[in-house]
């Protein structure tokens, strides 16, 4: 087990100056440094955010006018489906993991993530999954078009784009699970002495709970899509009504994953907002313990509400009433959080730099999304509004103005620490206000459209919906273009921003910002493991070349697997999506995951 002399878990922080770092692209492919990997995650998610955003703009362009103008209805459905999958699995979730990679070790005084090599793998799985997902656009039949929820019977009957999507979901799921195990282990085992659980920054707490949710539900999703796959190709009938299965069963399994998933996407944002608000209100977070318990209860309740996504499938009234009340119950811990954020600002010495603007924008618009969620929790109302634009408005308020705004705030907040350079405050403010205004222009009218009965996921609509659709489309393009300000602001800060002070925000008091105290705690942690350090020191001669070799091996294996994987895609495509072709691809991916697991269990 300890055949590799250089131990990352405990040793990485000891010598930040690895004498012979590989340079250029190899640095990023072979890196095991939590900060590098955090950066990779964040850039990856930003690229996916732009990809998914372009799809959204194509959707909005088509919906600018009633009738069919720009895209075929089939392609419209594919855009809808892949937009959802890309934004959820490609943008929001990896961005959250990126924040965790950067911040969790710094905030708890750990030298690095617990399994540094596994960390590298959980990131590098993602580009493969993304290419697999996006390459489904060019296979016969096009990409998956059953909606991001992949409901059968449609998902059992469509072309091989669905198979690629299923495999992409498998890989992204494996990546999330590995990332989560890493985060949990880091938080539970590698805190600096004196940092008890109830002293951890709230961002760490929210990520700990998120990671537990992830390892509980991602395998269930993997199971659900595996059942889809066997229904499609191997003659099982889990969801095939003709063979005795039931499509509604898929909805139950999917939403058992899907509802905790929405909290997976929002809890890290809660953590970021809980970090930013005290810093700019110059007051400690109000009700820390209640925040922790509220997060925990949201997580537990999230397992008991899944069927509120499917009130219209024909479940008995008793079931509807149960799921309705439990759903409404979630509003209580969520309201505790909103109350605490507002109470933190109460009588604080507030200033409104960009991170704070995003955090306050988050509170406003997340609360709007929360209220529309409460409206949708009512069974009689939901039956009317099910699958209308009201639902689209609801979840974009909590996901875009919720999760995404918190992430923007987090980037501006920590960028001075990450890059050592300050961003341009004027650009940041422009980014916030344009995003804020255009977001509301895009999504607020969707409430009206939904209440008036416009169904979602349809490329055409009745003419009375035209006005608000035009407004929404204009807003969407404005929102999309605003994100270029963000890209420019970040690039400008990294390249030519003025050097940031060691403590860029005077009000912040978490370890990561309160340098050099963070370094101090890290040293205490390492001293405690002196024995290990000694062991490490005696092996000083060997590690560098061995390490280099190991990293090169990682890169080689990645490369060869990429070849096998895309050979598989091409073989599957060439055979027209036949069972044999899909089988080849399936084996390639299983091999991919097995290698990933085996390589990491050793350490």
């Amino acid at each position: 087990m300890s055949s590799i002399p250089h131990d990352h878990a405990a040793g990485h922080g000891v010598d930040h100056e690895h004498a012979h770092h590989p340079g250029g692209i190899m640095r990023w492919i072979t890196t095991t440094n939590h900060k590098d990997i955090g950066t990779l995650y964040l850039w990856f998610s930003f690229i996916m955010f732009l990809v998914g955003g372009v799809m959204a703009l194509a959707i909005r362009a088509e919906l600018f006018q009633p009738g069919l103008q720009l895209v075929e209805p089939e392609f419209f459905n594919q855009l809808n489906t892949v937009h959802g999958l890309v934004m959820i699995f490609g943008a929001i979730m990896p961005a959250a993991v990126g924040f965790a990679n950067w911040q969790v070790p710094l905030m708890i005084g750990a030298p690095d993530m617990a399994f540094a090599r596994m960390n590298n793998w959980s990131f590098w799985l993602l580009p493969f999954a993304a290419v697999l997902l996006l390459s489904s656009f060019i296979v016969p039949g096009g990409a998956a078009s059953a909606g991001w929820t992949l409901y059968p019977p449609l998902s059992v009957q469509t072309g091989m784009g669905m198979d690629l999507t299923i495999f992409a979901v498998h890989i992204m799921g494996a990546s999330s699970i590995m990332g989560s195990i890493n985060i949990i282990t880091t938080i539970l085992n590698m805190r600096a002495p004196g940092m008890t659980m109830m002293k951890m920054p709230l961002f760490v707490w929210t990520w700990l709970i998120t990671a537990y949710l992830l390892i509980a539900v991602m395998p269930v999703l993997a199971g659900a899509v595996t059942m889809l796959l066997t229904d499609r190709h191997f003659g099982t009938s889990f969801f095939n009504a003709a063979g005795g299965g039931d499509p509604v069963l898929f909805q139950h399994i999917f939403w058992f994953f899907g509802h905790p998933e929405v909290y997976i996407m929002i809890l890290p944002s809660f953590g970021i907002v809980s970090t930013i608000i005290p810093a700019f209100a110059r007051k400690p977070l109000f009700g820390y313990a209640s925040m922790v318990y509220a997060t925990g209860s949201i997580a537990i309740l999230s397992f008991l509400v899944w069927a509120h996504h499917m009130f219209t499938v024909g479940m008995p009234a008793a079931g509807q009433v149960f799921f309705m009340y439990v759903t409404m119950l979630i509003a209580v811990p969520t309201a505790v959080k909103v109350f605490n954020w507002v109470a933190t600002m109460w009588k604080g010495s507030m200033t409104f730099e960009t991170p704070m603007l995003f955090a306050i924008g988050f509170i406003f618009m997340f609360t709007v999304g929360g209220f529309t969620g409460l409206v949708l929790s009512l069974v009689p109302v939901d039956i009317v509004l099910h699958d209308t634009y009201y639902v689209v408005a609801h979840f974009h308020y909590v996901l875009v103005a919720g999760s995404l705004f918190a992430f923007f705030g987090g980037i501006y907040y920590w960028l001075p620490k990450w890059s050592g350079r300050m961003y341009d405050e004027t650009l940041g403010k422009w980014h916030f206000w344009t995003s804020f205004v255009f977001f509301n222009i895009t999504f607020f009218p969707m409430h009206f459209l939904g209440l008036a009965g416009m169904p979602r996921r349809v490329p055409d609509y009745a003419t009375q919906f035209t006005d608000w659709n035009e407004v929404a489309s204009i807003g969407a393009f404005g929102f999309g273009l605003s994100q270029l300000i963000f890209l420019y602001a970040v690039l400008k800060a990294i390249r030519s921003g003025p050097p940031a002070p060691a403590r860029p925000w005077e009000g912040s008091d978490t370890l990561d910002i309160r340098d050099p105290a963070a370094g101090e705690l890290k040293r205490i942690y390492l001293k405690r493991n002196e024995r290990l350090m000694m062991e490490h020191a005696t092996r000083r001669e060997r590690p560098v070349p061995a390490q280099r070799g190991a990293n090169m091996r990682t890169a080689l294996i990645l490369l060869s697997i990429a070849v096998v994987l895309f050979g598989g895609v091409i073989a599957a495509g060439y055979s027209g999506g036949s069972t044999a072709g899909i089988g080849v691809l399936g084996f390639a991916i299983i091999g991919f995951l097995l290698v990933a697991i085996l390589r990491n269990v050793r350490r």
Binding site: N189, T196, M197, V220, M227, A242, L249, I253, F256
Partner: protein, 178 residues
């Protein structure tokens, strides 16, 4: 969760990795466990009893009302013919009636299919009592076999006043691997 940490963090990390790995595997299994669990729930609550004959408690015929019944037949990727002999029938609620569907397998090989009923309006479903139906079982056909199959039914007199027309649509799906 206390602050006490074992001496060797690598060992502790690996132990936790294994424990969490077990959670992952158990949850993967749990996803599949939801399948029999769901079946049991449906059996207990009678939610999915679509392939059992219905029972009718009240056989009083309501001659004052006439309900128009429309029959529809669809095939899902099956090279068969499938049609009702009478597309529209009028019945009194409470009156027993029968319609006949004709199916022909137009291929050279034996095939098995299952018909799934669907109602319009949806709310009429619970008042349409099927006493016998070819949709209760899988139907096998030899090459070029043609067969007529009945649906025996009663429209429940409790049918709401505002429903005057019920459409019953069957779709035949192929059951593979038979």
């Amino acid at each position: 969760m206390s602050d006490a940490r074992p001496d060797d963090p690598r060992k502790a990390n690996r132990t936790l990795l294994l424990k969490l790995g077990v959670v992952v595997i158990v949850m993967f299994g749990f996803g599949f466990l939801l399948v029999p669990f769901y079946d049991q729930i449906c059996k207990l609550t009678g939610l999915r009893d679509i392939d059992n004959p219905d029972r009718l408690e009240n056989s009083q015929i309501d001659r004052a009302r006439t309900v128009r019944l429309e029959f529809d037949a669809n095939l899902r990727k099956l090279p068969w013919t499938f049609r009702p002999l009478a597309a529209v029938v009028s019945v009194h609620p409470g009156e027993m009636a029968q319609v006949v569907y004709e199916v022909e397998n137009r291929t050279e090989r034996p095939m098995t299919g299952q018909a799934i009923p669907s109602y319009g309006p949806q709310s009429a479903a619970e008042y349409f009592k099927k006493l016998d139906c070819f949709c209760f079982a899988k139907q096998s056909f030899g090459p070029h076999e043609r067969r007529q199959m009945p649906v025996v039914f009663v429209v429940d007199p409790k049918l709401p006043r505002d429903i005057n027309t019920i459409s019953l649509s069957y779709t035949f799906f192929e059951v593979e691997g038979n």
